[in-house]
Symmetry: C2
Subunit: 732 residues, 2 copies
């Protein structure tokens, strides 16, 4: 459904309208009037005849015309009754201000669910509860009380009214860019982040979506929608509640599912979201993305009128992964022609006093630099805008000339210019001119650099990196009858854990390179299998009750011949019986001994927020002690799987160290993709653990495999709609 | 010497005084007059009679009175002649504006050295060259041309005039705190950073020293002085030129020794320096340290009037290592009595509207919180200062009341309050009041948090961490005749590398736990030594020419009896002869086989900026691939050595993983300290490498030891005064 009747409401009922100036029910009407709301306002309060010159109704049902949206300012306990009336009236949406829901704990959460159910039964969508409200800036539909919101094309979606106030205040003060929508999502009880995203994605007036998030109720759906949104327009996101204290504070604040999982940052990146680390970077980055062309490559020129700023910018951009490439000879020659001898013509460019008599030379330099084919954007740092203030008034006019020319240059070259000026606060006319041309100006050098980073990150995403997955599962796709049978058998036997040979068989069916491991139920079979797969072999106990095989004396390695295999079978089964007399002993698995190689681990589990995820790490101390592991939300493509290998701190080990040959990285990538497909094929798989996997120079050996099933988890997946997409093939 | 005649000059000669308004020689006089310089100004220019109403002299020698300081505005080539005249006149110091020295490369560097020599010969100290100048703000001694510098107690020491301009502009706009001195150190050709530091340390008017550094000429002396300074007052330092591009930019800018070594950050920390990561944090952190009491513990309360800011602050402070402790029950009860029911009384505290009608409640909360014994400071975040703007005018008076009370509270409790306010830009009177009480206010939440971090870091340093080393060597201390003899013998034989048994003997003499390794010159000796130290033993070739013993077939392990030792001696010497027929074969070293344990590496080398440093890491892939190593500037105390162990990402391995017992960490710490003492005892040691060292559950085994000597290096140490302190015992 479209939210047009909510966000573009032609009429609003104020439930709990009041004549008391201190009440929200008064302030809301006053604000709508002052902001010149284009639609109709209907105060509702059984005790009043009229408020602020408007007729007041006893109930929404008495309102003669259609009502699109209701602002409910009354306490939580009144909600259910009001929602029923709104439903009867055919109102499309309600903004619920009241707190007293999920943010208060378990009881509040139950009440919240009941309220949402009433809303659903009455075909009403809820913004909130526990929200500061909603604004359609251009329409004057202001249900918040924040006045003078600067107009623009940024849609603001936050879980904190204070953060909205901060951003709106900052925009009004420092920018010419503003907002078209503000939504305080509150407890996200009904309408979820991904639904708002979907609406703003389709909205032609929205150029950037700026989000402050404390917790996501439906992480998987959010990722799915985000990856659709970022193909069209950027999302800038600040994720709060990372620490235990912060998450506790967020929990008491919005009742959101607290904390962020370790997979979030890579998942956000893959979905094309620009994540922001510091709150003071939120607006500047959104502003830059809403104003400037994107960078085609992560390569920029720095133009400075003093060494310090150039050095700081070069350091920081380098740390952010932005290149500061050498200039072409032609570029250097052209710069040399207009700058003094002592100017530094290597990138960063220091004009060394060359603009002191005529700051319009900044525009000449900018033009020369942006015409260099290795340069995809320009960062100007230092005093620009302040020459007229600091030196002589006439220089201000030259700065204005430069501003006009730089503004047009951006339009012509489609390469961005980002400006840092320490005179920004003084608002010289030249800097306002730059803003008129959509070139933002920042006082903080670091924030200017962060904007450059965002322009290059999103540029790279739009050009090259937007194909890596939509976070959609096609459940049951490629499931095979034989595989399903293995799972069904285990469940029929009351087992949640597949036996090692079952897990390996499931992998083999999926096309994973599983060696010829087979179950031998007696000595004779063991000898036969060993002969078939070739010596040396390893043997391991198979029993549903024995999970730690080594502890039970149930593992024997490097068996060289028939005699040793026979002895091993007897010894292993004897050990197992002594270790656990009641254990059901199914036999021994016989496998070829693995060759030399690097030990790695691949596993999957269900993340609370994002559903199935995959983990990859190097075995031994690196995973146990250094925690050198990489996570991705499933499913993964080849490229995403490959990126996991490079992300490890110890990835050089895969390329061969201490004279070892490089190991077969391609085989690892293939196996991760197969694991992803397996989890997709059989939604009953709850956890999978391949540990260790030995990766050889050519190929790999899955030494041990463990798969845990969960019927509850599948039910939960369905109930939460966490992963089971309506459009996908579903298991019954 | 004191720099009083420079920084508190009673008289200044302007060399190159001019009537041309665009010339520095005019502007300098004009500025001194406008800033009401308290001393005498003497323009010097052979072509003028008077400038700006002052008599102009043909030469300094013609000036009738004493001249303390000269500002030289003429080009580089005129310098030598001018300095000679200044010397004759008895001038104490010269500020040299001109560029054209070390920043231009090798030729410039030589010229710079010549100029410094002329200055030394004439007993003149130079600020610069290539500097923006120097200011004594309180005295009006302004040789820069930056006007309206806000007065205060921060001494500013920078390598960039632009950064100074940025900081001074920022202070004037946003603070009531300002500067007492500004020095542009320029190329640091004569007066070095550590000399300025020493002067400002003794200056009673200086409360904080704020530094922008691109490169240090004498890193070791800087550390020594910094560790003396920070016992008295804080140093806030921003280090630029970290990246290759940045360091190139810095090099072309100041000609400084570019780049920063990997030991710098731990050394700065150990010297008590507060390092700043972003340039926009420089002034705020200096301001906080100059204004507020320090925090006794890293434990703070957050007081917020909205969830978003509280959550962001809690996250960020947690990441910065600041605790947000639980409140005492009494504190919670007192808060509950004045805040509404829905307020969050856990730390962070959210007043949840409890200040909307009366923001003076902020002061009540502050008092309750700062009286909690677990709370050592308070961060107030959100709208404070804006209640009068946003809601009703009368609330502004309540905010002012709160400001007075919070100001007095800080004085009374000696615990700091740091404020974030999104209304800071509007400069409401309440926030100016806070500043009057030396409580700074910031618009950026993250910067406010960084100030809290600085107050707690420096608090911890002053209370507990200031004893860890002064970076002074006592060269030759504890050198033993027998040790010196080993070194002298090697040098006499023309060897730079000690043989393994020599290196181990040197370690043993120093008290390091070296096993009974001994050199056997023949089979019989080998058998005898093996019997003495006990089987199993290892044997390794000893030859000055054979550095890679294994490659030469010169290592045999796990020898169990006399027969094997004899065979090994024959085989090793035979292999060595075949490997390198000309090699001088001294025999075999016989050592006890090492037991089980964790492999570690300890090494020392000479760092370009800081002199001798020590490295510690875990052996094998962790050091080779993950680069998991820790560095410290030598000498090190027990505590510093111990901190190296905890710093490793893989330090858990030392505590025992996979069922292994913990290894003897105390033995590692003792060995690092012994290595430090060894380097101090014998300054000829250039590099030392103990690799591997096997650390057991009890004790450790130094399996291999390598020591490289360098006479050149010792000469260089002396010449650069890099490490040889005048006060210390010196070798001749």
């Amino acid at each position: 459904m479209s939210f047009d009747r909510i966000f573009k409401a032609e009429s609003v009922a104020i439930i709990g309208a009041s004549k008391d100036e201190t009440k929200r029910g008064y302030q809301a009407i006053k604000t709508l009037q002052e902001e010149k709301y284009e639609g109709r306002i209907y105060p509702v309060n059984p005790k009043e005849k009229s408020i602020l010159g408007l007729k007041c109704y006893r109930s929404v049902l008495e309102i003669p015309d259609e009502v699109d949206l209701a602002l409910i300012t009354t306490p939580a306990r009144t909600l259910k009754g009001i929602l029923k009336e709104l439903g009867e009236k055919g109102v499309a949406g309600a903004v619920v201000i009241a707190g007293g829901f999920g943010e208060l704990g378990e009881e509040g959460r139950r009440f919240e669910e009941e309220v949402v159910q009433v809303a659903r039964d009455n075909h009403i969508r809820i913004i909130g509860p526990n929200t500061s409200g909603m604004i359609n800036v251009h329409k004057g539909l202001n249900l918040v009380g924040l006045k003078n919101v600067p107009q623009g094309s940024i849609a603001l979606l936050t879980q904190s009214g204070n953060i909205a106030l901060t951003l709106i205040t900052e925009a009004g003060l420092k920018s010419q860019m503003g907002f078209n929508y503000y939504v305080g999502v509150g407890n996200e009880a009904d309408i979820r982040f991904h639904e708002y995203l979907e609406y703003f994605t389709a909205d032609p007036g929205t150029r950037v979506i700026l989000m402050y998030v404390e917790g996501l109720r439906e992480g998987r759906k959010f990722l799915q929608q985000a990856s659709r949104t970022t193909r069209v327009k950027p999302i800038v996101l600040f994720k709060s509640g990372r620490s235990a204290k912060g998450s506790k504070s967020a929990g008491s604040h919005t009742g959101a599912l607290a904390g962020i999982s370790e997979v979030a940052s890579s998942a956000f990146k893959r979905a094309g979201i620009i994540t922001v680390e510091h709150s003071d970077e939120m607006f500047p980055i959104a502003e830059s993305l809403a104003s400037l062309p994107l960078m085609q490559e992560k390569a920029i020129a720095i133009l400075a009128d003093g060494g310090g700023h150039a050095t700081i910018a070069a350091d920081y951009l380098t740390e952010l992964g932005i290149k500061i490439p050498e200039l072409e000879n032609e570029t250097r020659e052209k710069l040399a022609a207009i700058l003094p001898d002592n100017a530094s013509l290597a990138n960063p460019i220091d004009v060394a006093g060359g603009t002191d008599q005529n700051p319009a030379i900044f525009a000449d330099c900018a033009e020369i630099l942006l015409n260099d084919k290795n340069i995809h954007g320009l960062l100007v740092v230092g005093l620009f805008g302040g020459y007229g203030i600091r030196f002589a008034k006439k220089l201000a006019f030259m700065e204005e000339d430069a501003a006009h020319r730089m503004g047009k240059l951006v339009r012509k070259t489609r390469k961005p210019i980002v400006l840092h000026s320490l005179y920004n606060f003084a608002r010289p006319h030249s800097l306002d001119l730059l803003r008129y041309y959509n070139i933002p100006v920042y006082d903080s050098l670091e924030i200017a650099c962060k904007c450059v980073e965002a322009l290059s990150l999103y540029g790279a995403y739009m050009l090259r990196e937007h194909r890596e997955g939509n976070f959609q599962f096609n459940w049951g796709a490629n499931a095979l009858p034989r595989g399903q049978q293995i799972i069904d058998n285990a469940l029929a036997e009351g087992r949640k854990a597949l036996l090692e040979h079952e897990a390996k068989e499931l992998l083999r069916l999926q096309g994973a390179p599983v060696s010829l491991d087979r179950l031998a139920v007696n000595e004779e079979e063991a000898v036969k299998i060993a002969a078939e797969i070739g010596y040396e072999v390893a043997m391991k106990i198979v029993s549903p009750q024995i999970l730690h095989k080594s502890d039970a004396g149930g593992v024997m390695l490097r068996l060289k011949n028939e005699r040793e295999v026979r002895e091993a079978f007897r010894k292993i089964t004897k050990n197992a019986r002594e270790y656990m007399p009641d254990a059901e002993i199914k036999g021994c698995i016989v496998s070829r001994m693995s060759g030399e190689g690097v030990e790695v681990i691949i596993g999957t589990k269900i993340d609370d927020q994002f559903g199935p995820i995959v983990m990859f790490g190097l075995g031994g101390i690196l995973v146990e002690v250094v925690k050198d592991v990489s996570f991705r939300v499933l499913p993964v493509s080849r490229n995403v799987a490959a990126s996991m290998l490079g992300e490890l701190k110890s990835s050089a080990i895969l390329d061969g160290v201490r004279g070892r040959p490089p190991c077969d990285k391609e085989a690892i990538v293939r196996l991760i993709v197969k694991v992803s497909e397996l989890v997709e094929a059989y939604p009953l798989i709850h956890e999978l653990d391949l540990n260790p996997v030995i990766v050889h120079e050519d190929g790999l050996t899955i030494v041990d495999a463990r798969i845990i099933l969960s019927e509850e988890e599948m039910e939960k997946k369905k109930r939460l709609s966490l992963c089971l997409d309506e459009t996908a093939v579903c298991l019954d």
